[in-house]
């Protein structure tokens, strides 16, 4: 039980952001039971990784991905979280804080971590709706709401934040103009040359950049519509983002009478002018300096925790920070005094053709500044040299070419001190990474990432994490097979497991696990579905499918949705349907009050929001109208897209629709390593998009062109041409043979695109184009397996309806 002990001191934290919560973690690590803790946060949620707002805006991450401390984190530690309520007053005589909604909490120790506020230019119209800063997830949502294609956005400020905002908006098709008051972008991080390269790169992405542009006024009736520049130009604007700087958020501290300069003044122990009140993060001013990056916050948090818990006497020492722009595809790094001046020397490297520029600034044989543009791969090495103040005279000649050429005695991570920070985004230091590697015998970067979050955010430290692994494992890492283990339950890779299944005649999942020394009693969510597939593929007709080793969608024969309901997609052969089928679908929708009916990207109809217990009835009714499962949920044959072809189209050279139906009837029901999509187009205009499908067919006058290994998903890949054939029977045989080759050789969850990239198209051609006998054999094995997989799973499941109902009800 959590007894509230009267001897516990009361700690109140104001500011639920990166610095405050990090300090709290450090405090809990040192003294888990010392305080009763209350956290006030003006934002209405737990803590998130603010620096990752840029990838969220760019659509590369979701808010859920960047939440670092959710409500449960606070609850589990008995921390009271007062979220969505700003503190408006500190009463230092009674030692109480007061929230804007009247919540009062007493404190013995108070920690201010209020961060900073975006600076809003005092121009007319700055308070119009549609004019915002870039600081919180709410700002990101406001920006995303304005993201209609053809909308116009103006970003004021060509620094790190402004450019990340501009890039993010551009990703959504918004027309973006960046205004910068100075002649060059990011002047605090880049020299003139790299700034020019950056500008060219941004313009190549379609951003408009106006330098020496000063804003005179923002105009609009009930919301912003335009922006006027001092030189008289007018820019259309549905959104104006101000990214011209930040100001420490000090109003609360100032009103309480604490010593405040530009920020809340703190001493080396992070104490304010009131010994019971501490401050960390961007709200502080330390030795006259204010802050704008996360790296210093981690150090402040440690010092502050040492002081508050009296664990140690430590002092905060400002250190240089490095910066990177988080714009995918632009690789830059900057740290220290990169402009140099009197008494400094410069080493500059430039490769205009490859878009690379490096500038190193030395003073007294030590590196004091660095700018890397176009290739920042060695940034960690340079940054270490800079921070450690290493004498670089011995390697000067090769310095600009990086550690490999410079012949650095100890290149990189081994030489770093234990407390050196490896992952800046998540504040993970070297000793922590080494500790988990040895404690849990980790051998992969993924495993380290899973345990520590190191390299899980922007990924720029992945190389260093890998280097640490190598360093920790020594020969074990080098001799470690290049083959990746299937999952943490085994050391075997996919190919080895398949080979053993075949060679030793292993016929069930438990047999495989026993024979191959699995380290867990019944595997995990990664290996069980893979083994189930490998066994199914190896022993058609013999292996009994294990429903409990299938992902929910395949077990339920429907796709689970975020609210726990399901979606149901009946097959529509080659994209054809009929009045009878449409009527049956309409009846099902009415009868079961299905909320959403959608045409999918795969030429069929999706019924969304079906409740689990309704599934058997929905299927039964669809079956009755002659429809079967579309396997929209499976690592299986999905859709066969077709165009109208020669039956109707004035350009069609062959009957692509009938060919699509024939292919789908041959292939449906097949289980495959990952999903498989087919398409047939009636002429090279390619209306069915055959060149981004796993198996694509394009009709030409003289027959059919066959294409394989396309992908239209995460990373678009155009197909490789496999062969040109003349008869319909050839198309079917090549298709069956290709699918069988893929089924037998690919790793589980490897799409055809990745499989073919791994083995090479030449290998595929050798196996099934050049070798006609093998092609026939592959096709025969495919057809044999189909005998056992082509019964409609819906029909079978509808018989076992009770499985979908509750076990009992004890209301």
């Amino acid at each position: 039980m959590n007894m509230i002990s009267p001897t516990r001191r009361r700690l109140v934290v104001v500011g639920n952001g990166m610095a405050g919560i990090r300090a709290l973690e450090e405090i809990l690590e040192r003294a888990p039971q010392a305080f009763d803790i209350v956290v006030f946060g003006a934002e209405p949620h737990g803590n998130y990784n603010r620096i990752m707002l840029s990838p969220v805006l760019a659509g590369e991450k979701t808010f859920a991905d960047i939440v670092t401390h959710d409500a449960a984190w606070y609850a589990d530690r008995n921390i009271e979280l007062v979220a969505g309520e700003a503190v408006v007053e500190i009463d230092r005589t009674t030692r109480e804080v007061v929230g804007e909604r009247g919540t009062r909490r007493g404190y013995d120790v108070l920690l201010l971590a209020t961060g900073s506020d975006p600076f809003i230019l005092p121009v007319p119209g700055a308070n119009l709706p549609g004019v915002i800063g870039f600081r919180t997830i709410a700002d990101v949502h406001t920006m995303l709401e304005s993201c209609r294609p053809c909308a116009h956005a103006v970003v004021i400020g060509g620094g790190l934040l402004g450019l990340e905002a501009a890039n993010g908006l551009k990703q959504h098709g918004v027309d973006v103009t960046v205004l910068h008051i100075l002649p060059t972008l990011m002047e605090r991080q880049l020299d003139a040359v790299s700034a020019g390269m950056m500008r060219a790169d941004l313009e190549a992405r379609g951003l408009r950049v106006l330098t020496e542009a000063s804003t005179k006024a923002i105009v609009g009736e009930d919301r912003v519509t335009a922006l006027h520049l001092a030189d008289g130009r007018e820019l259309k604007a549905d959104l104006v983002v101000m990214a011209v700087g930040i100001r420490p958020s000090v109003a609360l501290a100032r009103a309480a009478g604490l010593a405040v300069g530009r920020g809340v003044r703190v001493d080396d122990a992070m104490r304010t002018s009131d010994p019971a009140i501490f401050a960390v993060g961007e709200c502080v001013e330390h030795r006259g300096q204010i802050f704008g990056l996360v790296a210093p916050l981690w150090d402040m948090a440690k010092v502050c925790a040492d002081t508050i818990t009296e664990a140690a006497e430590s002092a905060y020492e400002p250190a240089v920070s490095g910066t990177r722009l988080k714009v995918t595809g632009i690789d830059m790094f900057s740290a220290g005094d990169f402009l140099g001046g009197e008494g400094t020397e410069e080493i500059v490297f430039r490769d205009a053709a490859r878009g690379i520029h490096k500038r190193l600034v030395l003073r007294d044989e030590k590196l004091i500044g660095v700018v890397l543009y176009g290739d920042a791969g060695d940034s960690a090495w340079y940054f270490d040299l800079l921070k450690s103040g290493t004498d670089v005279s011995a390697m000067r000649d090769g310095l600009v070419f990086g550690p490999a050429v410079a012949g650095a005695p100890t290149a990189g991570v081994e030489a770093l001190p234990d407390e050196a920070e490896i992952c800046g985004c998540n504040g993970v230091c070297k000793s922590k990474i080494l500790a988990v590697i040895s404690e849990h015998s980790l051998t992969t970067v993924d495993a380290v990432r899973a345990r520590t979050k190191a390299s899980a955010s922007c990924g720029s430290c992945t190389g260093q994490v890998e280097a640490l692994l190598k360093h920790a494992l020594g020969n074990a890492f080098d001799s470690a097979p290049r083959i990746r283990a299937m999952c943490k339950c085994t050391a075997h890779g996919h190919d080895a497991v398949r080979a053993e299944i075949r060679a030793r005649g292993l016929k069930t999942i438990p047999q495989v696990m026993r024979a191959l020394d699995w380290s867990t009693p019944d595997g995990c969510h990664s290996c069980r579905p893979a083994l189930n597939y490998y066994l199914l593929c190896e022993w058609p007709g013999e292996y009994r499918d294990d429903a409990q080793s299938r992902f929910v969608n395949e077990r339920m024969h429907a796709n689970i949705q975020k609210d726990g309901t399901y979606s149901v997609v009946p097959r529509m052969w080659g994209g054809l349907t009929s009045a009878k089928e449409l009527r049956a679908i309409a009846d099902v929708v009415d009868r079961y009050e299905i909320p959403t009916v959608k045409v999918t990207g795969g030429q069929r109809i999706d019924l969304l929001g079906v409740k689990r217990e309704q599934l058997p009835d929905v299927w039964r009714d669809l079956n009755a109208a002659g429809m079967v499962s579309g396997h929209a949920y499976g690592k299986a044959l999905r859709t066969v897209k077709t165009c109208v072809g020669s039956e109707w189209c004035r350009f069609g050279t062959q009957d692509s629709t009938s060919m699509g139906v024939a292919l789908e009837q041959m292939c449906w029901g097949s289980w495959t390593p990952h999903k498989v999509k087919l398409a047939v187009s009636g002429c090279p205009r390619n209306c069915a998009e055959s060149t981004i499908k796993d198996f694509g067919v394009i009709a030409v006058d003289s027959g059919w062109e066959l294409h394989v290994a396309g992908n239209g998903g995460i990373k678009v890949r155009v197909t490789d041409q496999l062969a040109k054939v003349t008869t319909d029977a050839d198309v079917l045989e090549y298709c069956g043979a290709f699918l069988q080759l893929y089924r037998e050789e690919a790793h589980y969850l490897e799409r055809t695109a990745h499989y073919v990239e791994r083995v090479g198209i030449a290998h595929v051609k050798a196996k099934m184009v050049e070798d006609a006998a093998n092609r026939a054999a592959l096709h025969a094995r495919f057809l044999f397996a189909q005998i056992f997989s082509q019964d409609d799973p819906w029909e079978a499941e509808a018989q076992k309806a009770s499985r979908f109902a509750d076990l009992a009800s004890v209301e």
Partner: protein, 109 residues
């Protein structure tokens, strides 16, 4: 606990109603409860709601004494409801026991 043993055990079904490495749900006053049966025939019960985004744990893959949430692959311990590192969160456990091959659940008053 503070001796608040006012719960009553209710028979909610037979062990064999749940497939090994599977789960079934029970509707209760506190909402749906997922009752799991593991490979070694232990039973566990959790609120059917993942600490991450309320995914239905009853629909996950059961392995060892854990279940993997079907929505985003968090791994939740069946005995304590705690998410495996690096994820952070906790689902309420519900008292459950076997009497012979009958499953008894203490959910609600």
């Amino acid at each position: 606990m503070d001796g608040v043993f006012s719960q009553t055990w209710r028979d909610v079904g037979a062990l064999d109603d749940i497939p090994r490495q599977g789960a079934r749900t029970v509707a209760t006053a506190i909402g749906p409860v997922a009752v799991f049966r593991t490979l070694d025939d232990s039973v566990f019960a959790l609120e059917d709601s993942c600490p991450h985004k309320q995914g239905k744990l009853s629909q996950g893959i059961v392995h060892g004494h854990s279940v993997t949430c079907p929505l985003h692959n968090w791994v939740i311990g069946l005995a304590d409801g705690i998410a495996a590192a690096p994820d952070d969160g906790c689902t309420k456990t519900v008292p459950v026991r076997l009497e012979g091959r009958r499953i008894l659940l203490a959910a609600g008053p």
